[in-house]
């Protein structure tokens, strides 16, 4: 509750900040310190210090899982701000509004992570999405950015329609929006209810860009300004996943038999399309867009398995995936050429940055000693523990091998190929943040309990 109110207030504050603060630096400092504050109050709420008590009539519930998830996402956003705040300012003249929109997105994140009513879920998803449509189109003079924004808006609106229809059908079947009350009556599984569930499944699949609802993803990620792609592909996607998990755990948990195979198939298709298509990309940015689809495929395994391992794994996976992707995008945003060749000989010119990017790529590929390995491990373990659909586990690891192909192409370009020297401006603070991120990735790869511990104590 702390973070929910604070992010909403900070969003409004940021909107008006450009009126009062004339320098960009001041706006940036305000944005970063605001986020630190959000992070602090959220951690305080985890340890029982609650500043506001508002009766939500049971429509929201701030449990440990949700709060921990929020903490992870806020921490990732902080890393994102520290790395990319300067690049956000370069997108256009309305820099303080960009920060404001990001705060509104975070407000949506807190809503979707703690909903107990389908109405709040709908609100959260909308608050999450609408600022993103604007951010995608924020590069106003760029045709691709405009196209991406329009495409995202139209398809997003369509999926929102599906979601509303699904909610309406479920309301029709049960007469309530509350997820808590539904569990008891849901078991009957009337046709109305199942239809509603499917519509919700499809619209959530759209939000997390699971195949075959992923078609918007590459175009939108490619067209949007790189800084915002980074935000969309990581924090927003992870938030959509927690909504997905909560929905299917709390509301449809008793119907697992009925949707498990369908989710397994969606997972397999997502893994397949994300990985195979990523192999053929020539632009690193577009490759990362497809890789985000394939990573979503791995996260879908948490929904498929829906056990304790899966929940722990999703937390770890979100942290690992967000941190690594944010770091790679931050470095990528500094480059002029986004093709694989643009990274040639990067290690010679920027050995430190190249090393950090390598660690991030190894993490995304799931090599031990990085957080990415343990998160994949938890997902596989969760899926294996269900005792069903062994083919899915084996298929997933084979797809992980495919992912090695395109992640290592970047490493090959950076280290083993020769290219022209390009000069990019790197501040010491940027380097320091990147090194810290790499350290966190490795630390989580050895001691995952640093995060998981908080789930229980």
């Amino acid at each position: 509750m702390n973070a929910l109110l604070l992010t909403a207030v900070l969003g409004v504050v940021m909107m008006f900040s450009s009126l009062l603060l004339k320098s960009k630096t001041a706006v940036r400092i305000l944005a970063v310190s605001g986020l630190v504050l959000v992070l602090v109050v959220n951690v305080l709420e985890m340890s029982g210090v609650i500043f506001f008590r508002i009766d939500t009539k049971g429509m929201m519930g701030f449990d440990r899982f949700a709060l921990l998830f929020n903490t992870i996402l806020f921490a990732c956003t902080l890393a994102y701000f520290l790395l990319s705040a300067r690049d956000i300012e370069k997108v256009g003249p309305n820099y303080s509004e960009y920060f404001a929109l990001i705060y509104f997105v975070l407000c949506g994140v807190t809503l979707v992570s703690s909903f107990r009513s389908l109405l709040v879920l709908f609100l959260g998803i909308e608050i999450l999405s609408i600022p993103l449509y604007i951010l995608t189109g924020s590069d106003k003079k760029n045709l691709k950015s405009n196209e991406a924004s329009l495409k995202y808006f139209l398809l997003g609106a369509f999926s929102t329609g599906l979601m509303l229809m699904g909610i309406a059908l479920i309301y029709g079947a049960t007469g309530t929006f509350s997820t808590g009350a539904l569990v008891s009556t849901a078991t009957s599984g009337s046709a109305l209810f199942i239809a509603g569930m499917l519509l919700l499944m499809f619209s959530m699949s759209f939000k997390v860009s699971a195949a075959p609802f992923h078609f918007w993803t590459p175009d939108v990620y490619d067209g949007a300004p790189t800084v915002f792609t980074s935000f969309m592909a990581t924090i927003v996607k992870a938030a959509a996943f927690i909504a997905f998990v909560k929905l299917f755990n709390e509301l449809f948990g008793s119907l697992q038999q009925q949707w498990q195979l369908l989710i397994a198939i969606i997972t397999a298709i997502t893994l397949f399309i994300g990985n195979i298509t990523a192999v053929f990309q020539q632009s690193v940015k577009r490759m990362l867009a497809y890789s985000s689809i394939s990573q979503a495929g791995f996260m879908m395994m948490a929904i498929y398995a829906m056990n304790t391992d899966a929940k722990e794994g999703l937390l770890l996976y979100s942290a690992a995936y967000c941190l690594a992707t944010i770091a790679i995008f931050a470095v990528l945003a500094k480059l002029k050429d986004y093709s694989f060749d643009g990274l040639n000989a990067f290690a010679r010119d920027q050995p430190l940055l190249a090393a950090v990017v390598t660690i991030c790529l190894l993490s995304l590929a799931g090599i031990p000693l990085t957080a990415g390995f343990l998160s994949k491990f938890y997902m596989l373990k969760a899926a294996a523990a269900t005792g069903k659909y062994t083919w899915l586990v084996i298929f997933a690891v084979l797809m992980a091998v495919v992912s090695v192909y395109y992640y290592f192409r970047v490493i090959q370009a950076m280290y083993f190929r020769d290219g022209e020297t390009q000069t990019i401006e790197i501040t010491p603070a940027f380097k320091l943040t990147l090194v810290a991120l790499a350290a966190v990735i490795i630390l989580l790869g050895i001691f995952p309990n640093l995060i998981l511990y908080w789930l229980y104590f």
Binding site: E312, L362, G366, I367, P368, L369, F373, F377, L380, K381, A384, A385, T390, V393, I394, V397, L398, A400, V401, V404, Y405, F408, Q412, Y415, F416, R417, F447, P448, N449, L452
Partner: protein, 490 residues
Amino acid sequence: MIPVLLIVIPLVYGLGAFLIKNERAVRSWTLLSSLITLAVSVLGLTILKDDSFLQYRTSWISSINTSFSVKLDGMGQILCFLTAVSFPLVFISTWNSQYRKPNNFFALMLLMQAGLMGVFLAMDALLFYFFWELALIPAYFLCSQWGGERRIAVTFKFFIYTFTGSILMLVAIIYIYLQTPDHSFDISAFYNAPVNTGRESWLFWLMFVAFAIKMPIWPLHTWQPDTYEQSPTAVTMILSGVMVKMGVLGMIRWLMPVLHLSFYQWGDTVSTLAITGMIYASLIAIQQDDLKRLVAYSSIAHIGLMCATLFAETQSGMQGVMIQMFNHGINIIGLWIVIELIERQFGTRKISQLGGLAQRSPAMAILLVIVALANIGLPLTNGFIGEFLMFNGIFASSVTKYYIVFTALAGLTVILAAVYTLNMIRKVFYGDTNALTAAGYSLRFNEKMALAIIVVFVFVLGLYPKLFLEITRETSEFILNKTEISLFKK
């Protein structure tokens, strides 16, 4: 404490080596590190043989019941000793080879050593997997950065191959873990896992593929000749001398006792594959004109014999394999050293372009001939002991009906090995010199020393194998007991 030191020393020195810019300094630094590691390993073999020194265990991720558990058993002793001996040998013998960015090269070498030690010591399945992958990453960078002209594509093939195998192994580990009574990754829990028989077969194949790719077993060997050829020779020495033993060790420690029913059930199939591979590789080796590829194929044949012997499940065979792992490692490093010298001096590895080297460089010729004879298993050399025990093991096998066929066909490859090895010696070292080789090459002191150490090993173990037989007996008995071999006794 010893196992921890064996991993930590190369790790710390390796990370330190990244920071040393001076070439001589970094060479001395890495040599120092490898000598300290060797000293620790020897201490573990000789003085500090008490169990309290040889194992270490501490909790790691308690929620999934995995621990940092390392232990030196008999097989571990031998393989860690091999690793500890190989790295100084490599560093000494390649003292004069030039590398771009030497600090990165030597740092990665030491990190690879740490990874290899970890694989040989890990007594926890997840930890084993960790080190298994970690040994691979430095190898990938070493080969891609410092290798021959086709290095990038070839190393990538190598990486994808082994990564595929290892991640399939991870799936198998997870499934076995889920079947252990107390959900633990500990090796003893794995040994007691009541894997249900319907599952065993495909779990066996998932794990087998990982080990077979690493060893490599035909038909999963295609990465190997290319990689050995394209890698810088110092790395090839480690890949072929030490890293392939990861696969053999995995099979002995993590496959045979854990999934022993399938190990028995698929024994004939795998032995057939291994022996087919041996004959196939030997025939190709005879045709090779490139020295590196010749040794690469001969290595496939040698490893194939180890694999076939393991599936015979006999005491003598097991001990033979363990000893042969060491011998094969030492001998093949000797061969690579000579090849590296020839290539550096004459700029070619083509057998057809060389000849008459013995006239001008008799020392090199003598040392090479000794190592080559050990490689084909002549009596009095270390190779003979290993091969004799292994053939004895296959022939005495009680788990296969085809033991006579297997022994005969495997024996055929010994003859083929003599053909290609002696042929190579004849063409490279004897006959007339040509324009290229007329100058000859006299060994430097460090190269002589490295080869001399290898020759000492060849004879000491050839004449007095008891040293190693004692160490390996307990481990092989233990593993065989786990396979309940007694049920199948004739």
